[in-house]
């Protein structure tokens, strides 16, 4: 389940006839090869992760050019630090998405330090319909949508404002007009419910 991060099945370099190298090569195993300077493995990792990283960063950062920049930084960081990946601490996909999310959030927060903080109310709704440019990971997408739908409204808003809106929990509390303790609890409960619904460990 570790490599289920929106893995795309469109890489022409790993089309059939390559019994030796299945397209579904385990991400953690690939990262171990990347750590040894294996550029072929790095290309495969890039193919698997660039789409998910870009999509997530784009929702946080909004501007496409900046998002591409962050994505490239994250993937280069991955090349540089592949030897530091520790599977005891979670799956490879989750490791990378965590790094990417932190970078995206840092980018937004540092920008907002110099600019007037604007309320990004639109981030309360996730738009799942960017059909034209979306990678066709429909099954995963559908499942996440369904699981998000299973949260209470407050849980969903708290999780979404935090994850895509890059707000801290006390900012979210301010935006939603509820106590910070409540927001913290909703974030945790919401994620636990998502975790169970998505069937991740």
């Amino acid at each position: 389940m570790t490599d289920s991060q929106g893995r795309s099945r469109r890489d022409p370099a790993t089309e059939p006839g390559s019994a030796a190298e299945p397209a579904t090569a385990d991400l953690a195993a690939l990262l171990a090869r990347v750590a040894r300077g294996d550029q072929v493995a790095y290309e495969k990792v890039y193919d698997q992760l660039a789409g998910p990283v870009l999509g997530m960063v784009r929702r946080v950062v909004r501007d496409l050019a900046q998002s591409e920049e962050v994505m490239q930084e994250v993937l280069l960081e991955l090349w540089r630090t592949a030897s530091r990946f520790d599977r005891d601490k979670g799956s490879a996909g989750s490791w990378v998405m965590t790094i990417a999310h932190r970078r995206a959030i840092d980018r937004v927060r540092s920008e907002q330090k110099s600019a007037e903080r604007e309320l990004r109310a639109a981030s309360a709704q996730i738009d799942y319909d960017e059909v034209t440019e979306a990678v066709e990971a429909t099954l995963d997408r559908e499942r996440v949508r369904r699981c998000m739908g299973s949260l209470t409204e407050l849980q969903r808003e708290s999780v979404t404002l935090a994850y895509y809106g890059s707000y801290t929990y006390d900012e979210v509390a301010g935006l939603l007009g509820v106590a910070t303790g409540t927001v913290k609890t909703r974030m945790r409960d919401g994620l636990i419910r998502l975790r169970d619904c998505l069937g991740v460990e």
């Binding site: 040894r36 493995a41 591409e68 280069l76 530091r84 998405m97 965590t98 996730i126 609890t185």
Partner: protein
């Protein structure tokens, strides 16, 4: 903050969402370090947030990939964090491991030195190892990969002449699906050009990486993994950042064992 603050644990969700201030993050991470069940919970919540993020996947522009591969080819990687015993015990353990498990077990360091020296005779080995020392310290992992090839039961050594001058030597292991590449006496290239290694076979032609700079006339050892059945190895001269496909004629081609 104070130990055992009951509400600290409720920060797990906000932490997994990166919805915390730097101070909160530091505080929670101190808490995580001594709370196994919290670390376990964070793992699960991170998997969930990663899935949310991944479900928004977009297809990146194709040219970004080439940029990324070029950037990687010229970026140095971090060595792994050592998690083993203190340095004092390491040397002795290493020795025991080598002698205790027979001559087939070549330590990574020794393996790297051997490959670097084209399997030099024992007399020359000490010098080769000293010369390579500073590099080896930073490249332990690569050393492990080299050792894996050299220790493989099916390791084979092949050499070929480079048409523009010099020789290439490859130690390959089918079983490890890896090879160790070294070269000597290659003509030095003008700025803006460098040597690029390729794997060519039924799986297509893939870059196996740019050759590292020459040191005292020798290049490598460089580990290439991901060998597929029927692959051959080739060498071309490309623009310094590397190319996605060979853009010039092969100056060396080596047929690997079938």
């Amino acid at each position: 903050m104070r130990r055992g603050r009951p509400e600290l644990h409720t920060l797990a969700g906000a932490y997994a969402l990166d919805a915390v201030s730097d101070e909160d993050r530091a505080r929670f991470e101190r808490h995580l370090a001594r709370c196994d069940s919290c670390a376990q919970e964070i793992r699960g919540l991170r998997e969930a947030t990663a899935r949310i993020g991944a479900s928004a996947a977009l297809r990146p522009r194709a040219e970004l990939k080439e940029q990324a591969l070029r950037a990687a080819a010229r970026t140095r990687q971090l060595p792994p964090v050592r998690r083993d015993a203190p340095a004092a015990g390491r040397g002795r353990r290493g020795l025991r491991a080598v002698s205790g498990r027979g001559s087939r077990l070549w330590s990574p360091r020794l393996a790297t030195a051997l490959a670097a020296g084209f399997l030099v005779v024992a007399a020359g080995m000490g010098a080769a190892m000293i010369g390579a020392q500073h590099r080896l310290d930073a490249d332990q992992l690569r050393g492990h990969a080299i050792a894996a090839v050299l220790n493989a039961a099916d390791v084979t050594m092949l050499t070929a002449t480079v048409t523009t001058g010099g020789t290439a030597t490859v130690l390959e292991s089918r079983r490890e699906r890896s090879l160790v590449f070294t070269a000597a006496g290659l003509r030095s290239l003008p700025a803006g050009a460098s040597y690029q290694l390729w794997l060519m076979g039924p799986e297509g032609t893939r870059s196996a990486g740019m050759l590292p700079p020459s040191r005292a006339g020798m290049i490598g050892p460089m580990v290439v993994s991901g060998l597929a059945a029927g692959d051959d190895v080739g060498l071309t001269v490309e623009p310094a950042g590397g190319a996605a496909r060979p853009t010039s004629a092969m100056i060396m081609k080596l047929g690997l064992s079938p």
